[in-house]
Symmetry: C2
Subunit: 168 residues, 2 copies
Amino acid sequence: MLEPVSVERLVINFKTLEEFKQFKNYGNQELSMLEDLQGNIIENDSVSPFFGIYYGSALVARMSLYRVDAKYDQYFDPPQDYLELWKLEVLPGYRDKGFGKKLVDFAKQYELPIKTSPLINSQGFWEKMGFHKAKYDMERDLGSNPLIWTPEGVTEKETSAFGNTQTL
Amino acid sequence: MLEPVSVERLVINFKTLEEFKQFKNYGNQELSMLEDLQGNIIENDSVSPFFGIYYGSALVARMSLYRVDAKYDQYFDPPQDYLELWKLEVLPGYRDKGFGKKLVDFAKQYELPIKTSPLINSQGFWEKMGFHKAKYDMERDLGSNPLIWTPEGVTEKETSAFGNTQTL
């Protein structure tokens, strides 16, 4: 039987950063955090954009979540605060237990639209979560392929694949 | 001996979009272009952000290039127009012939800083091209890992891995 698990905000300290190394999507963000921690630019146990699920004492799933201000919104109609979600990942051995869904459901609780631009081919998962590909807008999306989820009453902004292509 | 090749701007028509299918990084952007072309929202032979190299009659390498206005610049000091580069790809069988470098050199000609956020692990190539990882800025970079190249006299903007993390 699946034990009850909860999603918690992760604070940044050396222990958490060590646990992050288990995740495939460990990179520039974590290294910068580590440098800032080592250089005392940030304090131990600083608030981070990461949320995670512990299974026993092990961090087995995580995501980053950041609230983007309405003034930067280029995805939704009307423009509004939305959540950017990235680095959603469940460790091998802990998959197919609903941990990924648990994290996404946690994000949905805020009743704000959500945008994510997954790096790997995980579109099947996102579709199950109710996300769909945003209509591509060249000037806005450039090299990214955003997926979005909208709560009741929010629609996707109209876009154009070409926009006003500036000639170089 | 390597034949002389040149980099050309690609216009969007059904033939070019068909050729794009050979590239691994064919996705949302190309599909949107195809839809817009089929729906007569864009005209045949529209200017595109794509540049490519033909080898004989075959398109064997391509990239997208877009000039971002200084007012949106969050990467360079002082803020200035820069080029966003994405979807750089050389078809298998045509690699190690300098085509990737040719495309990057084409972009460098504009003497503007360049930013790219490669999806796959190609950092070795980018380092050879003189690019380096931008210092991670959470609010700016979110889930991306930008690499940048700067011409003489341009420096990277100072950033913080944490920014002003807003509490959700």
